[in-house]
């Protein structure tokens, strides 16, 4: 059954209802596997899965010890993808990420320059504490994340699909960090905030990690299936009023528009079209995961914060007033009628 999904997807046929149902089933299984190690954090897990199926990247923000790295590693095991991790530090160079040309000696003893791929050549990349690297190194990810390729010595090297970057950053220790530039932030489909676990979840975490042996993760889907699922996702229809709602939300984040006073007062820059694309694509994935074949307004509202919170830049007044991007976006959404 798994193979059939991949075959049909590669054949480029019209996605069918069973494929959508299969997608939902597989993702439910992946979610189940992840939940063996990750307690709670359902929104984060769903966000990661949605971004994986939508073909985007995820920026995880949370305090140390909340399981960000474990989530990425578990996901890599559940989807049977190649996984690599880069610990970003201030002295990390771009070549350390994307690779470099080195002198290689072949069997004949001849020496030649050969490309040594960096850790970015993988399916699932964990860029841990990405904001600790210099902007030069951070920007090394730009081409890889958007174009799915890297260029070294005038030679472009394609990355293997699916290519999925999960970056983490610590919001507490800001000293010695380099905040991600807006251009790179816009490359992330979602910015997910990893919250602290609740009481029940904390009990569960203690029970699982301090007793017995850790559970093993069974791979559920592979890379090709994920690519097919991405094809299915794009076939999900969107009603005109839902798309209009997305446009309204996106435009409402622009400070130069007169539709919403919140943006003109607190926003320095609004969302790019990537934000609207994110809302629609994420809504499609969410609809499929929910067993529907259409995007609803509820999907859009649910994805509003992770999709747009890192795409808007607040001005000084917002910071002075103690306003955050999340509450401002919620205020905008509350004022915009979907009809």
């Amino acid at each position: 059954m798994t193979s059939s999904v991949g075959t049909e997807g590669q054949a480029g046929g019209q996605p069918s209802g069973p494929q959508a149902e299969l997608l939902a089933e597989k993702m439910a299984e992946v979610r189940g596997e992840i939940s063996k190690l990750i307690v709670g954090q359902t929104e984060v897990v769903d966000g990661v899965l949605i971004a994986l199926l939508a073909g985007g990247h995820v920026l995880l923000e949370g305090a140390p010890g909340l399981g960000k790295t474990m989530l990425v590693r578990t996901l890599a095991q559940a989807v049977a993808l190649k996984y690599s991790r880069i610990q970003f530090t201030p002295d990390l160079m771009p070549a350390d990420v994307i690779g470099t040309s080195v002198v290689q000696e072949n069997v004949d003893g001849r020496k030649s320059l050969g490309f040594q791929p960096g850790p970015i050549f993988t399916n699932l990349l964990l860029a841990d504490e990405i904001n600790r690297a210099t902007p030069k190194t951070q920007s090394a990810l730009l081409e890889a994340m958007q174009e799915k390729q890297v260029t070294v010595a005038h030679t472009s090297h394609l990355l293997e699909e699916p290519f999925f970057v999960m970056a983490t950053q610590n919001p507490l220790e800001m000293e010695g960090t380099y905040p991600l530039p807006e251009a790179q932030l816009d490359r992330f489909l979602f910015k997910l905030r990893v919250p602290y676990p609740g009481r029940e979840d904390l009990h569960e975490i203690l029970d699982r990690t301090t007793q017995g042996t850790p559970a093993s993760i069974r791979p559920v889907v592979n890379g090709s299936q994920i690519l097919q699922m991405r094809h299915v996702v794009r076939a999900v229809p969107v009603a005109p009023h839902v798309q209009e709602y997305v446009v309204k939300l996106t435009l409402a984040t622009h400070p130069e528009t007169r539709e919403n006073l919140v943006a003109s007062k607190y926003f320095r820059y609004g969302s790019s079209p990537r934000g609207a694309q994110t809302l629609i694509l994420g809504g499609k994935v969410r609809a499929l995961l929910d067993g529907r074949y259409n995007v609803s307004l509820e999907d859009i509202r649910a994805l509003l914060l992770p999709a747009l919170r890192h795409r808007i830049i607040l001005n000084f007044e917002a910071q002075a007033d103690g306003r955050t991007a999340d509450d401002l976006l919620e205020e905008i959404a509350a004022k915009i009628s979907p009809n």
Binding site: G17, A20, P237
Partner: protein
């Protein structure tokens, strides 16, 4: 010449003929400039397309469900609009029944208006009925189907769908068959129905009442107008206004001949001629009072005992009025008879405008008589000015003010007598000098004024001054404008010369103005 033309001619390059519409045109442009912007910014709605579309048979159940929803929403909208309209019509009926005495015509008009409005509401509501796509959105939101139904309507135009589109349609139809639109969209009476029913009862009761009664609001207003409270509030105002109107009308319509012919008119409505004459009359009245002192007029001496004591100024004035009227009628008082014999010819020459002006001054002086009285009491030295002769012109001039002050005092009263009566009054004055009669207690106020003005009667006035003389302040308001001259000097002045002097000072006063 039109105002626009005037502006064009007076202000070159100024507002043109279209300037009068520039402001509303600017407002209209400002309003309409938003309309295309909004139309451009808002994506064309899918609803009209969805209404014109032929839906496939697999969506027939969904379309039928949506039609039911649309009908119910339309019915609710119609009920709501009709009820609101009915409320307004009922309010109109109440107004008609409460105000109008004849209601047949207005009832027909209201009936036509109500029917036309109801028809217009029907047409308007039908034309703006909910499209199928929006009905699907409503039904979807009520049923919690997460936009399955509008998406299916949107996808209804796809022929031979496959894949997720067909799956989506099937899913939507499956969900729609489980819905009961009648329970989700019941036809409800609008909330204003209770208000309308209450108004219906009121209208029914009102028209039942109207069968045998007048319009209640009119009756209420009439009864309120008759009530003492309203009258107590408004009657002083009404009387004051009415009095002023009567004065004005009398002054405008009065002619010198009629003024001469009817010396018994009210003082307040006297023209300048009347003022002369009125002054004469009052002079006659005062003369009679003096005559009562002097004993020249024996009938005056036979006044009731109550008047010999200390009658109020008004009472004495009334008495004087009656007496002077009697005297005028009998031509018995020498001063009055002489004045009245000479004045008609002279008064005819006075213009109506002068009369009106003088009367208006008199009216003004009436309102400020009390203040002038106070001034007169505080400034006794001004009472000597009557000798100048300027004060025979009442009004705003200083001489008039002094005349007012005199008029509010006893001195003024005396001076008025002497000036207006001419020889007759002088005769009385002379007799005052001669007569030490104790009956002169009635003329005490006159003597008080003379004392202040330094006349030769001053010695006597010192003797005769009593309290209560200032109460005569309001008595001589109409005589303020009369010349205050020594009666002895005026005794031999012919009436023509007196008229000449009067006109001379009138012209002088006009020049000042």
């Amino acid at each position: 010449m039109r105002l626009g033309g005037k502006l064009n001619s007076t202000v070159p390059g100024g507002p043109s003929g279209t300037v009068w519409l520039s402001a509303p045109i600017a407002v209209w442009h400002r309003v309409t400039s938003w309309i295309p912007t909004a139309a451009v910014e808002k994506r064309p709605s899918f609803s009209p397309v969805a209404d014109r579309r032929e839906y496939p048979s697999e969506l027939s159940i969904l379309v039928r469900t949506l039609n039911t929803v649309r009908q119910r929403i339309l019915a609710n909208a119609l009920l709501r609009s009709w009820t609101r309209w009915a409320v307004w019509i009922l309010v109109g009926l109440i107004a008609i029944g409460a105000v109008l005495s004849k209601v047949a015509g207005p009832l027909v008009l209201v009936g036509v208006l109500g029917t036309t409005g109801a028809a217009a509401i029907l047409i308007w509501t039908w034309r703006n009925r909910l499209p199928a796509y929006e009905a699907a959105q409503r039904l979807d939101s009520v049923a919690g189907l997460k936009d399955r139904l509008p998406t299916a309507i949107y996808l209804g135009g796809v022929d031979n769908p496959d894949g997720l589109i067909a799956q989506q349609r099937k899913d939507a139809v499956l969900r729609a068959t489980k819905l009961d639109p009648r329970s989700l969209f019941p036809v409800r009476l609008p909330t204003s129905v209770g208000r309308a029913l209450a108004l219906i009862l009121v209208v029914a009761g009102l028209f039942a009442y109207r069968i045998n009664h007048k319009p209640p609001l009119l009756s209420l207003l009439q009864s309120a107008t008759r009530s003492q409270l309203i009258q107590s509030i408004f009657s002083p105002l009404v009387q004051a206004i009415q009095k002023d109107l009567e004065r004005a009308v009398a002054l405008v319509t009065m002619k010198p001949d009629s003024a001469t012919a009817d010396p018994r008119r009210d003082d307040s409505a006297l023209s300048s001629d009347d003022l002369w004459k009125g002054g004469d009359e009052k002079g006659a009245k005062d003369e009679q009072q003096q005559a009562a002192d002097n004993g020249n007029e024996q009938d005056q001496l036979q006044a009731p005992p109550g008047q010999d004591g200390a009658p109020s100024p008004d009472a004495r004035q009334e008495e004087g009025n009656s007496q002077s009227q009697d005297e005028n009628g009998n031509q018995s008082a020498s001063g009055n008879s002489q004045q009245q014999a000479e004045s008609p010819a002279a008064e005819k020459r006075q213009s109506l405008g002068q009369s009106l002006m003088q009367a208006l001054k008199n009216m003004l002086s009436n309102s400020s008589s009390q203040q002038a009285n106070n001034r007169a009491n505080q400034q006794p030295s001004g009472q000597g000015t009557p000798q100048s002769g300027n004060s025979h012109q009442p009004g705003a001039t200083e001489g008039d003010k002094r005349g007012e002050s005199r008029g509010s005092s006893d001195a003024k009263q005396k001076a008025t007598q002497t000036a207006s009566e001419g020889a007759g009054s002088q005769q009385g004055s002379k007799e005052l000098h001669k007569d030490p009669n104790p009956h002169s207690i009635n003329a005490i106020p006159d003597r008080v004024a003379l004392e202040a003005s330094g006349f030769k009667e001053q010695t006597r006035m010192n003797v005769e001054t009593e309290t209560g003389t200032a109460q005569l302040a309001s008595r001589d308001q109409s005589t303020q404008g009369d010349a205050v001259v020594n009666g002895a000097e005026q005794e031999t002045i012919p009436a023509r010369y007196r008229l000449y002097v009067q006109r001379y000072f009138e012209h002088a006063d006009d020049g000042k103005r």
